[in-house]
Assembly symmetry: C2
Homo-oligomer: 364 residues x 2
């Protein structure tokens, strides 16, 4: 990470949790992710191949297998959520196969939320490719999101019937649909927050932001862990602990993202450092800073990109940076406690920790 | 039905199947539908009440419990699909309760497809109320559809786990997701057909139209029957026969709709009689008529509302009306054969027949 200046660099480093040594297993996160892609991609390719002609290109684009013109690419997401599902499935049995259906379902769920989010946010780019609506138009993007989520549920339903794992499959399907409900609730909460002020009785609180983030970001991660666990043989309480762990992880990663959105380095994050501020997003650091120094609300409303260094420093001085760091640390801590409760076997836990540390650090 | 003129009235009547006497049960369709609404509405009200504040109004509007301003209404759909689910569930056991979760899931699925369809088709009105996008904007309409489908899957998942009916629940969930996949495929096929010509190598065929309709319209009806059956205790082959029956019913009802879209009476159908022609929709009667008299393609391209009587007569003379009638009759016949194979108990079969006859006739 390239520093904006010395002081802010020190702050930015402090917010990123130190990767923990992985005891025993020692499989690096990059290898876990590569294995995940190898296990998951054939099923995603099949889903694209099964689409009618008019669906295949946008669906392929959404899952990262095709570019905007329909040509195959070796891109796609890093499949972090799929990797969590596979790792969680290994927590209770040695057979990785039950986790694959869950990994595919979770990747489809994730691609669905991104496809509809890009429509709602008007974002034209995604993973270096045009977003689905930018490449194929609004109606096709709505349909593509719809089919992705339906395929996610269908993947689990087919798996459940084929493997006669009715109990695990039903629990997995319930976490998938619960995540899909919560994601839409979170997105609705986010849209409803946009016009609200930073100050006064209508102001957005940190608690509301945390709940919105747990819904919007955490529930897909929670679904990944819970679906993997349920398919892998976890009990009901273990599966629920996995779900809760994922909700906390979502808030932790978002807090890191929020911090990088102000004090991060665009060439590393791939995101203009002033875009959250330019959108007047009510993120953790901003809400916390305005909470302690209300006069900052006006500075945010008046924000222009040229004023970034000054505003970033003022937000840090008002405790915004420390608040994001503390939030990330506290949420990661709670996530780990929930993983303790879920009690996957040590090798699987080591994989989960490697993925979590990698992602918390990689976001920097 | 008020005739456009004598000859066309006779034709229009001929396309509507004669209601069959319901042996034994004798419960009129209106009463079955009223019972269905009574059993299903509390769960739909609960789904609305469980939404966060920012979701409740659009979700309530989508399921017909609220008007565009958020006031309660006694409207909503007639709940035909929910009634099919409940009737099918009674086909194998006496307990109506398992069918209720299926009925609610199917109504949520139906509301989801209507909400997104209205966005894609730009339709501003639905059941005498503004459509969700017209009342609440595009982004909220996308989210509302998303949450409705997620709630549909979640309803079945919760039911499955609560009642420990893992096998029936898994099969029901699979038909729900399969219908959701097929609906989006059908909608994509429909959108792709729009710009294609009536003539030449790129022309839309009746077979393609039939497949699109079975996907877009038939699969929700198929899901209603199959989900009801699966939850009610039908075996795998019986459940699949119910699904097939619903796909045929969808095509039959659409063929009747297509015929009424040209020769029907707007004050009865609630739809301007020239809207399908004005949109150059490639419906069964139009495709059949152009197939036998290619010169009609040009008349359709040039169509103006004032020319309706003349064009309607020409399409009828070219066999379009007869084709729609024959298609509806053939599809109803196949649906009944599939219901024979599903072999629900006689009282439940009588209910299904009453609902089907009522809908085929009522559409007129």
């Amino acid at each position: 990470m390239v520093p904006m200046n010395g002081a802010e660099n020190a702050l930015a480093e402090a917010v990123v949790p130190t990767p923990r040594a992985v005891p025993g297993a020692g499989v690096p996160a990059e290898r876990i992710l590569a294995e995940t892609r190898e296990l998951t991609r054939p099923a995603l390719r099949q889903a694209v191949a099964d689409c009618p002609e008019s669906c295949a290109r946008p669906v392929g684009l959404a899952v990262g297998l095709l570019d905007g013109d329909g040509n195959p690419v070796d891109g796609g997401g890093k499949m972090f959520r799929a990797a969590l599902a596979l790792a969680a499935a290994l927590g209770y049995r040695d057979d990785p196969r039950p986790g694959v259906a869950g990994a595919v379902a979770v990747e489809l769920l994730h691609a669905y939320t991104l496809t509809h989010d890009d429509v709602m946010d008007g974002d034209r780019w995604r993973r270096g490719q045009p977003s689905v609506w930018a490449a194929h138009g609004l109606n096709v993007a709505i349909l593509t999101g719809d089919v992705l989520y339906a395929l996610a549920q269908h993947t689990l339903a087919q798996h459940t019937l084929a493997r006669r794992d009715a109990a695990g499959g039903a629990a997995a399907a319930r976490y998938l649909s619960r995540a899909a409900v919560d994601v839409t609730y979170g997105q609705a909460q986010d849209l409803a927050m946009e016009p609200r002020p930073f100050l006064g009785p209508e102001a957005v609180s940190v608690d509301e932001y945390r709940e919105m983030t747990a819904n919007k970001t955490g529930s897909v991660i929670g679904a990944a862990l819970a679906i993997g666990g349920a398919l892998g043989g976890a009990g009901a309480e273990q599966t629920d602990a996995l779900w809760q762990a994922g909700r906390h992880l979502g808030v932790a990663f978002q807090a890191v993202d929020d911090q990088l959105g102000i004090w991060g380095e665009p060439s590393v994050t791939g995101k203009p450092v002033d875009s959250d501020l330019a959108r007047r997003k009510k993120t953790i650091p901003v809400l916390a800073a305005v909470g302690s120094r209300p006069e900052l609300a006006e500075a945010i409303e008046r924000f222009q990109p040229a004023g970034l260094p000054e505003l970033a420093r003022a937000l840090a001085d008002a405790g915004g940076h420390a608040a994001a760091r503390d939030e990330a640390a506290a949420q990661l801590d709670q996530a780990r406690r929930m993983l303790d409760r879920a009690a996957p076997r040590p090798a699987a836990r080591a994989r989960l920790d490697a993925l979590i540390d990698f992602t918390a650090a990689r976001t920097a």
